[in-house]
Amino acid sequence: MEDMYREVILDHYKNPRFNGELDPADITYQDDNPLCGDMIRIDLRIDDNNRVIECAFSGQGCAISQASASMLMEDIQGKSLEEIKDYTREDILDMLGIELGPVRLKCAMLSLKVLKVGAYGVQEWIED
């Protein structure tokens, strides 16, 4: 936290990439964190090889939740659903480049949760 929110987080928050909705989409899922009201929706279009050809997120909430969604969208371009399965908490924290306490971790992980539950169902999402 030395440098408050890193430039890159604020940049993604203020200028979110892949922001919006896809209609139609192959996969659409949304969830929220009632504790703070963060909300994220993710839409995906998938090709025959199960690769992400298009994606978008929408929602509202704090800088951490929105920036991590924006960064995640950027990162999954062209990835297969199999590869998305492998995303971990560490990947998100690496993108953000800051340390987070338990409450903010939930903000940071919301987009990954929405992505994974959307792609595979709840079983795949082990939160703790």
Partner: protein, 410 residues
């Protein structure tokens, strides 16, 4: 004018307020509404108890058991006097405000309410004074009427009167809102409730710690509060109730201490206050709650209240200077030391986190009052709250911090 005290001197009584955060910034604690810090005297009392007189209460004859029992009961007496309860037997130790309200809902509620009966709640209640009643309502079939919050952040008392005309059995209302700071006219509301035959249950979690509270003068029936918000430890709180009401209620939890006699298939209930204290209570914590009361009495509750009034007036003045910042709730004269606010374009979580870098501790979220936030179409607010140990200087640091937040998100 009041006999003002020096908050910076008071601050020295509180070990946690001497600490640094993020290695080298001094803590500015503005989160008392969630829980207060504890003065040294209270911690010493706790530590003395556990290092000397620790024993189980009520049944023991040996020296430690007698000391523990005497300490536990004398704390009860102190707490009773603190809120001008007619008898210490009306002071029931609970875990916290929440358990106290659950006790009323389950014991008084199940014994006195029937399907189709009405109860009155308000839009500004903490979840603690909503959910227990919702659970009871779902279980036995009650109708719930809600007093809305008007545009000044006050209860709409005309609607209250209309609800009373439907002859509710209970009115459950907070003395002071933990978000808006609104101080409700409990005395008047109690008179009206009684005129319509309703019992009034007051969530005093935010009033007893901050102002003189006289339950007899208020004329209410039940009052709930928590030690941890009034300089005491976690793990203990109080339900006060009028003797006749408590005496007529069935027990809540079953176990040791709340019984007079136990047979294999049946039991006889103990007298007040033990009837409602099942199992080993939070003995050390109750004794330390007594020490917290001593501490607050030493400062004087009138003084605490006046001081907070000064600080919150100043805080609101300064907060409202900040462009894009909105403070919710009534003017300073009608509220306690709580200010919930939003800042355009910045989520409250981000406000709290960036303030934390400078050691400034404020809460962000729904503060266990989701329906109230809903009423303002908000999902979260940031909240700075004040206590006897907060100074004008703390407010200045908050304001400076908020300008920094604006700059980061500018």
């Amino acid at each position: 004018m009041t006999i003002r005290f020096d908050a910076n001197e008071i601050k020295r009584d509180f070990p946690a307020l001497q600490r640094m955060v993020n290695e080298d910034v001094p803590l500015v604690y503005l989160d008392t509404t969630a829980t207060s810090q504890k003065p040294k005297k209270v911690l010493e009392c706790l530590s003395y108890y556990y290092s000397n007189s620790n024993a189980n209460v009520h049944r023991g004859i040996h020296t430690l058991a007698e000391e523990a029992t005497a300490g536990y009961e004398s704390a009860r007496t102190k707490i009773g006097e603190f809120i001008s309860a007619p008898s210490a037997k009306e002071i029931i130790y609970t875990r916290n405000t929440t358990e106290a309200i659950n006790l009323v809902a389950n014991s008084w509620g199940r014994a006195n309410l029937r399907s189709g009966d009405r109860i009155v709640l308000t839009e500004m209640e903490h979840h603690s004074n909503l959910v227990p009643w919702q659970m009871l309502a779902a279980s036995i079939g009650l109708e719930i009427d809600i007093i809305p919050v008007d545009d000044n952040g006050c209860l709409d008392l005309e609607v209250y009167e209309k609800h009373l005309d439907k002859n509710p059995k209970a009115v459950c209302v907070t003395h002071m809102s933990n978000v808006l700071g609104t101080l409700n006219p409990i005395k008047e509301m109690a008179t009206q409730a009684h005129e319509h035959g309703a019992v009034i249950v007051v969530d005093a979690a935010q009033s007893v710690p901050h102002m003189p509270v006289d339950v007899q003068d208020l004329g209410v029936d039940f009052v709930a509060f928590s030690a941890h918000k009034m300089c005491g430890p976690t793990g203990v709180g109080v339900l006060w109730g009028r003797y006749e009401l408590l005496d007529g209620m069935p027990p809540f939890l079953g176990g040791g201490d709340m019984i007079k006699r136990v047979y294999l298939r049946d039991f006889d209930t103990n007298e007040l206050p033990y009837k409602f204290e099942a199992g080993t209570p939070a003995i050390g914590e109750a004794i330390a709650m007594g020490a917290a009361v001593d501490y607050l009495k030493g400062v004087g509750m009138e003084n605490v209240w006046e001081h907070e009034q000064d600080i919150v007036s100043y805080a609101m003045e300064r907060l409202e200077e900040i462009p894009g910042l909105t403070v919710y709730g009534p003017e300073a004269e009608k509220r306690g030391g709580v200010t919930a606010f939003t800042l355009d374009g910045v989520h409250p979580h981000d406000i709290s986190q960036i303030l934390d870098v400078d050691g400034i501790a404020v809460r962000a979220g729904h503060h266990c009052a989701m329906p109230l936030h809903e009423r303002y179409s908000l999902v979260a607010t940031a909240r700075a709250s004040f206590y006897l140990y907060n100074s004008y200087d703390d407010v200045d640091k908050l304001i400076k911090g908020l300008y920094k937040v604006k700059q980061v998100f500018g």
